[in-house]
Amino acid sequence: FSTFPGSPKWRKNHISYRIVNYTLDLPRESVDSAIERALKVWEEVTPLTFSRISEGEADIMISFAVGEHGDFYPFDGVGQSLAHAYPPGPGFYGDAHFDDDEKWSLGPSGTNLFLVAAHELGHSLGLFHSNNKESLMYPVYRFSTSQANIRLSQDDIEGIQSLYGARPSSDATVVPVPSVSPKPETPVKCDPALSFDAVTMLRGEFLFFKDRHFWRRTQWNPEPEFHLISAFWPSLPSGLDAAYEANNKDRVLIFKGSQFWAVRGNEVQAGYPKRIHTLGFPPTVKKIDAAVFEKEKKKTYFFVGDKYWRFDETRQLMDKGFPRLITDDFPGIEPQVDAVLHAFGFFYFFRGSSQFEFDPNARTVTHTLKSNSWLLC
């Protein structure tokens, strides 16, 4: 790794950013999400935190431009230079500019905005280019499906931590996030402590999501397949919160944080991600724990903390009278729920390494199993 001459760095840990304008290649929400995720890559290995402002002068001003755009480093049309950014400092220092003659995307085609933004924001934080081909700060653009969720190399981590130090091990004000490691652990199918992030059906198959991966159990092959999420849906994040199939629409909705995506098969639908509040959640809801669609009633149940909401998929509106307490309507199910599946007439609630089969007619838990019993463990 290397740093800019003089090793300029931000002299504070809380840094503001502003997205000044947008490319027309992507929905605004997608640009917002890509930038947020790119900053989180660096946030997770340093004491730095980032907050977005919508007007005025932020530390890092992010913009899209073509050709000459006022800084004597003009862009050059399609290809070659994709973007550039300035090291920490006042005024235009710290800012990141993206060449809007590129075709910005969130997948492997075109130019992946998330990947380029993560690199450029490394400059905004003080990193120069690395000659390590495996590093995010290597100057030449290389997209691979494995980079869809970007893992910093040890070189990148050493570089940024040479400027800011490591992330504090305990900080009451920091929301826990999955740690970024140069050597990510792969979940083990029959680990007795295995829990799932989200579970859903998709066209008759069962999908069990965990971190960057998912198991896929098809009806004609009980032995589950194991895949990277990014191999199927490059633009989806890892560490999902919830997923469900609204199978009257042949669509799976996938949730993480305050956003959700719609996928049909292995295609992420245009116009996503959207904010969960467009479904009718109040602003106080920041994320969904679990979601499940009940086909017979065409209702979707969203579980958040100790409560749940019910969504009418026909009217596309939240039902009145919600939220309600989970324990009132699902006796025996304790919050917080990790994931829920509806199959064979039962609800399967996943909580940690345990799974509770709930009979909605009897309103009781009928079986308690290990979460990974679906994986033939």
């Binding site: 230079s81 994709l82 973007a83 550039h84 590129e102 280019h129 000659n131 100057p139």
Partner: protein, 83 residues
């Protein structure tokens, strides 16, 4: 017949690309354009070697096919050397 003996047969566009690339990313100054000096002492050759070393290419000092291919790849606009 070519200034850099053993290099891939170049047209003007490749030479222009190399010049622009070295100027933009490797601080190659225009008054050091000396393609016709002996290859082992040419500042251009040394600059090409510097680029090849940084980008993980074989340091041939020539605009070989791998080097030309690398120069055509999309990349960050920040230089690789200097400030």
């Amino acid at each position: 017949a070519y200034p850099l003996h053993g290099a891939v047969r170049q047209d003007h566009s490749t030479m222009d690309l190399a010049q622009q690339y070295l100027e933009k990313y490797y601080n190659f100054r225009k008054n050091e354009k000396q393609f016709f000096k002996r290859k082992d002492s040419s500042p251009v050759v040394k600059k090409i070697e510097e680029m090849q070393k940084f980008l993980g290419l074989e340091m041939t000092g020539k605009l070989d096919s791998n080097t030309v291919e690398m120069m055509h790849k999309p990349r960050c606009g920040v230089p690789d050397v200097g400030g």
